[in-house]
């Protein structure tokens, strides 16, 4: 982990409330998919944690949803602006257990960290499938980007306006997988936990104070004791999760 001043090179909407931001600077602290950064937003006391969507050639790509004043302010930041970022936070996904046919399951704004994961798994020769879940067709983003990685992509929408009607778990029977990685809202993660047939990993979200393990604001009880989502997490093994 490191504090880095990045330069914004892109900040544009992908849907009505989801934005893509690209940052140029020292990306060396990001060691793998599933980690996050914590952005200082002028006028707001706490930083805003955002998962890393991609990291390549000195550029970090972040995808975030505007949910309140802080992220709305973030969405108005212009190209060329400087951003104070704590980078390389948390432990990402473990790629070693993926097997030959890993399945990536993302819901809404839980989709972005799976993008770097898909690229890294494909680089290792895995046959990657992805299930992306959204509420409605207008909210879909990054489907084409995932397809370009070479992954097989399934989309679900809760209202049936695109792809499989229902939730991400309604597409599980389309895929024969050896391991899974999931990121999304907690009810989705719980459904995935109950309906998947292999081992896997989950990425959790929690309201954070610091994002680097000092305040204990984001702790979670697990099979192996109390864990900080920001420090030991945000990725946890299926076997250690307590709901």
């Amino acid at each position: 982990m490191k504090r880095v001043i990045f330069t914004v090179t892109e900040n544009r909407p992908l849907t009505a409330s989801v934005y893509k931001m690209s940052l140029s600077g020292d990306t060396s602290a990001v060691t793998g998919a599933g980690q996050f950064v914590n952005l200082a937003v002028e006028g707001f006391y706490l930083r805003r944690p955002v998962s890393v969507c991609d990291r390549a050639d000195g550029i970090l790509t972040l995808i975030y949803k505007t949910v309140g004043g802080g992220t709305e302010k973030l969405s108005r930041i212009k190209k060329g602006a400087k951003l104070d970022v704590l980078t390389g936070l948390g432990n990402g996904y473990n790629l070693d257990n993926a097997g030959k046919r890993p399945l990536l399951i993302g819901g809404g704004v839980g989709v972005p960290p799976l993008y770097l994961l898909a690229k890294d798994l494909i680089k290792r020769g895995a046959d990657v499938s992805v299930i992306l879940g959204f509420n409605t067709a207008d909210e879909i983003f990054y489907k084409e980007e995932f397809e370009k990685t070479g992954a097989k992509v399934y989309v679900t929408t809760a209202d049936g306006s695109y792809g499989v009607k229902g939730f991400v778990t309604d597409a599980l029977d389309k895929v024969d997988y050896t391991y899974f990685y999931a990121c999304g809202p907690e009810p989705m993660l719980k459904a995935v936990y109950n309906e998947t047939v292999t081992d896997g990993q989950f990425s959790f979200e929690e309201r954070m104070g610091c994002g680097f393990g000092a305040c204990m604001g984001c702790s979670r009880k697990t099979v192996t004791g109390y864990k900080r989502v920001c420090k030991e997490g945000p990725v946890f093994d299926k076997g250690e999760i307590l709901w």
Binding site: M1, R3, Y45, A214, C215, Y226, K231
Partner: protein, 302 residues
Amino acid sequence: MVNTKVTLCGVELDNPVIPASGTFGYGYEFAEFYDINKLGAFSFKGTTKEPRFGNPTPRIAECTAGMINSVGLQNPGVDKVIEEELPKLKKVYDKKVMANVSGFSVEEYAYVSARLDKCGQVGWIEVNVSCPNVHGGGMSFGTSEKAAAEVTRAVKSVTEKPVLIKLSPNVTDIVSIAKACEQAGADGISLINTLLGMRIDIKTRKPVISNVLGGFSGPAVFPVALGMVYRVAKAVKIPVVGVGGVSTAENVLEMMPAGATAVQTGAVNLVNPYASSEIVDGLPVAMKKYNIDSLSSIIGGC
């Protein structure tokens, strides 16, 4: 050359900057960012007899110029602190640490303090009678003169180390409680702990914090803390540690004339992990600007 040294209850500090309990873990997280030996000292995470998870999440809420937490004294318990956290700290920190102690009974405060009294790394015991986030413990001892004095006496009887009592601002008269602690033998007073507060999510019309209320800290509370430090320092003869919203070297220079011998930094460590390091670096610069040769010469007397 300016002199930033101060002496807190007989222990000399290179500078008066002490990250506050609950905002600095057991130190080593921050050692990944900078050499924490540059600090005056730091106060480690509030420690109880048994391990505690604390309150359900969410337990963090943002505010204008501050934040609310309701962590509720999550800690691994005093045995693990002595067996695991202090040896880990020793690898990155060779100064004295302030041991922050909490409890749910007078006996528990005394037990935890007695265990930590045996640790050479511990320079002071800071007794938290002011945590607003636990029921039946913490703050309930700090809201009455009698209970605060009782805890003070119990801890004093089991340790040779200087004992500071950390007081709550959520009381009718903080001065009378500080005086009761002094009379019971306290070697110093730390103030203030967080102010009780809450936030409501307008979308759900429910409290943001799972435990409803939490402790408010950050730069917004600085004037409240300064005022209380001033009043308590005038009323007691023992040293006072000023805590509450301190975020800059200038805030330190404001806290000390109010009567603070040393100053704790809190929430600012969480939003900028380098904050306390930057304050230490900023002190000599600010002292030159305001023609201060020696920090110990500006304590009190405002």
